[in-house]
């Protein structure tokens, strides 16, 4: 399997995505104010902060869903113009959602296959016939999908409609769909929200393995501090839309501003 992220001329440690002075507001509400940080190739980068700090907005800006009023975003060294999410997707950014956003009536296989859509090359006509090049291509994509199924250990639910699956497994399928895109940058929005301890441990293991095996760069939002400190290489902390800290988990957790933001300041 070609490791996602190979062959793009970037080397380890190099900046994959740079966010510079980004501000985003909805009418009078300022969601993000002048935030700058970078994501280096091959790292696990966490974005944390109290509720309403602008974490999900930040993720939406990165994958092109929102357009910042100010600032600049450069992905793989190219400054991004105003663009649509599917452009971000075709450039190699995949994401999962805070609330599971799968096709509930479709099977696990079909959901993950959906992640391959952008990689399909045969035309609509051939796809309709499901013969010749279209069939060959489908077999190739199916093989890739099966490798993901194997990787995430979800063989037993291959043909089950995902709506019937427990929440923890749905999250795993969603991760599978994002992986099917072979992304260079994987955005995970609270991958462990609402999970029990065992499911969290499993998911942590998968995140580490994805990063380790495929070299995929990961940016994640997470509330469970234990998980964040264990998983991530570097952490950026937002509060009320501003960046208040940036560094390794150890540095960040020792930072007085972060402690204040999470525990409140005594008055």
């Amino acid at each position: 399997m070609r490791a996602p992220g190979d062959g793009h001329g970037t080397t380890a440690g190099e900046v994959l995505l740079a966010v510079e002075g980004v501000s985003l507001s909805f009418g009078g509400v300022k969601a993000i104010t002048d935030v700058s940080f970078d994501i280096r190739k091959g790292e696990i980068r966490a974005i944390i902060g109290p509720n309403g700090a602008g974490k999900t907005s930040m993720l939406n800006v990165i994958n092109g869903f929102y357009h910042p009023q100010q600032g600049r975003i450069a992905f793989k060294g190219e400054t991004r113009k105003r663009m649509r999410p599917y452009v971000a997707a075709s450039q190699g950014i995949a994401r999962t959602f805070q609330n599971v956003a799968l096709f509930k009536g479709m099977s696990t296989i079909d959901n993950i296959m959906a992640g391959r859509t952008l990689k399909m090359k045969t035309g609509f006509f051939w796809q309709c016939l499901r013969h010749g090049p279209a069939l060959n291509e489908e077999i190739e994509h199916r093989k890739f999908v099966e490798e993901i199924i194997d990787f995430l250990e979800i063989q037993a639910i291959r043909k089950m409609p995902v709506g019937k699956l427990p929440y923890g497994l749905q999250k795993r399928v969603e991760l599978g769909r994002a992986l099917a895109m072979q992304p260079d940058l994987l955005l995970l929005d609270e991958p462990m929200a609402g999970m029990n301890l065992e499911e969290k441990e499993d998911m942590s293991r998968f995140i580490i393995d994805v990063n380790n095996q495929y070299g995929t760069t990961i940016a994640l939002i997470e509330h469970d501090m234990g998980v964040v400190m264990d998983l991530s290489d570097r952490v950026v902390v937002l509060e009320y839309g501003r960046k208040i800290a940036d560094g390794t988990p150890a540095e960040v957790s020792a930072d007085q501003k972060v402690i204040d933001a999470y525990l409140g300041v005594p008055h």
Partner: protein, 660 residues
């Protein structure tokens, strides 16, 4: 193949034989990326030889031990064979054992290498590696997550096999040396060490020799007429004697194909796709399957439900008789044939039993109704009794002599004796050599004249040669009159009634047998609904006179069947009561695996036991209970006691009792 030995007395020689005479036939399958992959006997032979060469280069030598840890995966079975090619001894370990248990086994077996499944097992082995001074290398099957590990002592099995292939290509004499090593293997050498699961203290390493293993497997392969056309699914723990015997040993002897499930969670689907012809499962599995079928039928549409009920009824009437070859009226046969098309066939297909020719169950008592249900569908389900020390079979039911209440006549070439204390001792072709590095416990288990003690009490049913196992020998008590009292045997007989959930029998050193009963809330609740019996709680339902009548009827039936059996006449239940609360693990009355803690219950309910033996008609009890949120409370109740009819022991039963 001039180098072929004339008689195959080791497993690698059997593998070579299979490659020579049925090289193109399937030996093993595993589903990979959603598609079943097949390896033929010649492919297996080639891979195992290369693997063995690779292991030799890692330093594995004759007499060394190698741990095998993981679920049923072809590469782990090949690890067993490859080690045996070198004359090394494989030691399978239960994949779900925690690091501490694993440390004990690996330390005790003095393993030099470990072949493990995945990162989880690698982590476990590495975490205890400071205690395993002899351990030099670890090889693994699945590389996920292991990329960044230090690979000086860690190797992928694929790489080991490749190294072996490279060595063969570079140096032709290496292949000859390996052939010589296989030929050098002798039947009396230890072929494998299987550690017991350790339910009774520290686990013991059961040493089995190759020739004995093969002799035993040859006997049962003939017994069940297995051949190369058969097919099994290896889904039971790799380290368990059952899997090693039924799938690995029998497979090599008969040359049939063994399939490995895609993952432990997909067994049911894999079963359905493979359709094994030979199948083993403990009673619990059959029970779960039946429950699942019944629940799904409840949700089916009314016509389907009616059809199902009708034909299951037909099967109950005629199915077993047809299977046993008894005479059945033509109309019965016609109806059954129709049922086969409409219900039984599709049902068996869903369960993966379409092609099943021989099915076994063992391990604990199976309810007669459950047993009959599967047999009435036309499945040749049988019982066997065995032990790791026997290399499985002691008794087995031959076709046509199937019973739910016995474990069958002796397996071929097995001898059994019942000692004065009622314990079953045996001598069998597959008998073990001793416990590894534990002469003390070997001496405890083996009599000086070479019989093996099972620790189970049992007897041969008079008039037939069927063995009945009644209980663990140490649990069997005696009444004050001297009559035998096997508590579990009595309890199981009661528990086969769906209305009865749990039973605790008393009687050791007493004048007669009494018992506590827990009713099954679902079954009895259902009955109450149908019969307009109103109740508010378990306690109220349990104390209802009609419920007492119902249980009393069950007790009398049990007594009648006990009276008809030799030596069991004295164990009839004279008085019983229905407990005012359900026995619960939270209150310490059951173990976490739902086994009754007899001693604890006897202490806790002392007043009730006293009343059972004092002749009182009722007794007061108050017990502390733990609620689900952890709070404690007290339940008090006045419990009624019933007397039951005792049947005179049958004449021939009484006669054997006297003789015994």
């Amino acid at each position: 193949m001039s180098g072929m030995p004339s008689r195959e007395d080791t497993f690698p020689k059997l593998m070579a034989r299979n490659a020579a005479i049925r090289g193109g036939r399937a030996a093993m399958r595993r589903k990979d990326l959603g598609i079943w992959q097949t390896w033929t006997w010649s492919e297996v032979d080639e891979i195992v030889r290369a693997y063995a060469q690779g292991l030799r280069e890692l330093g594995l030598e004759r007499g060394d031990t190698i741990a095998i840890v993981g679920s049923n995966r072809p590469k782990l079975y090949w690890s067993i064979l490859a080690a045996q090619c070198l004359g090394a001894i494989p030691v399978p370990v239960y994949a779900d054992s925690v690091a501490e248990e694993m440390a004990y086994v690996l330390e005790h077996a003095q393993v030099k290498l470990a072949a493990v499944e995945d990162q989880e097992q690698v982590d476990k082995v590495l975490s205890i590696s400071d205690r395993l001074t002899g351990l030099t290398h670890v090889v693994y099957d699945w590389s996920r997550g292991l990329r960044d590990y230090d690979h000086t002592r860690l190797h992928a099995i694929d790489d080991v096999i490749e190294a072996g292939r490279a060595a063969f290509a570079k140096d032709p004499s290496a292949r000859a040396a390996l052939d010589a090593s296989i030929a050098e293997g002798k039947g009396e050498d230890i072929s494998i060490i299987l550690y017991t699961s350790g339910t009774t203290g520290r686990s013991k390493g059961v040493m089995l020799s190759a020739e004995r293993s093969i002799a035993a497997a040859t006997d049962t392969v003939t017994f069940d007429k297995l051949d190369e056309n058969d097919e099994v699914l290896a889904y039971l723990p790799l380290a368990w004697v059952g899997d090693h015997y039924l799938n690995f040993a029998q497979g090599l002897v008969a040359g049939f194909c063994m399939s490995c499930p895609e993952s432990p969670e997909t067994v049911q689907q894999d079963l359905c796709e493979i359709g094994p012809t030979f199948y083993f499962a403990p009673p619990r599995v059959y029970e779960n399957l039946l429950t699942r079928v019944m629940i799904r039928m409840e949700d089916a549409s009314a016509p389907k439900r009616k059809m199902f009920a009708y034909f299951i009824d037909v099967a109950k009437r005629w199915g077993e008789k047809i299977l046993n070859g008894e005479s059945v009226p033509f109309s019965g046969r016609m109806l059954y044939a129709l049922g086969e098309v409409l219900i039984y066939g599709p049902l068996k297909n869903v369960l993966g039993f379409s092609r099943m020719r021989v099915g076994y169950t063992a391990g604990e008592a199976i309810g007669p109704e459950l047993f009959s249900f599967y047999r009435s569908l036309g499945l040749n389900l049988k019982q066997l009794y065995g032990q790791t020390e026997a290399f499985l079979y002691v008794t087995a039911q031959p076709d046509g002599q199937i019973r739910a209440d016995t474990v069958g006549p002796l397996a071929p070439n097995v001898e059994v004796r019942i000692t004065d204390t009622g314990e079953v001792v045996f001598r069998s072709p597959g008998m073990f050599l001793g416990y590894f590095r534990d002469p003390e416990r070997t001496a405890e288990t083996m009599t000086p004249d070479g019989w093996v003690k099972t620790g189970d009490a049992g007897f041969f049913e008079p008039g037939s040669n069927h063995l009945k196992i009644i209980d663990r020998a140490k649990d069997v008590g005696r009444l004050a009159t001297g009559a035998l009292f096997p508590p579990k045997y009595v309890e199981n007989k009661m528990k086969f009634y769906p209305n009865v959930k749990e039973v605790v029998a008393f009687g050791d050193k007493r004048d007669f047998v009494t018992c506590f009963v827990n009713i099954d809330m679902t079954a009895v609740g259902n009955w109450a609904e149908r019969n307009n019996v109103s109740y508010a709680s378990y306690q109220e339902l349990a104390a209802h006179p009609q419920v007492y009548d119902m249980i009393a009827a069950h007790v009398e039936e049990v007594n009648r069947s006990l009276a008809a059996e030799p030596m069991m006449g004295g164990a009839q239940i004279k008085r019983f009561l229905i407990l005012h609360k359900e026995l619960d693990a939270d209150d310490g009355e059951l173990t976490r695996t739902q086994k009754v803690r007899r001693g604890f219950i006897a202490e806790r309910y002392q007043p009730l036991i006293d009343a059972l033996y004092s002749g009182a008609a009722e007794a007061d009890i108050s017990t502390e209970v733990t609620f689900e949120d952890g709070r404690k409370g007290v339940i008090s109740a006045r419990v009624k006691i019933r007397d039951c009819k005792i049947w005179p022991a049958s004449r021939e039963a009484a006669a054997t009792e006297k003789a015994a």
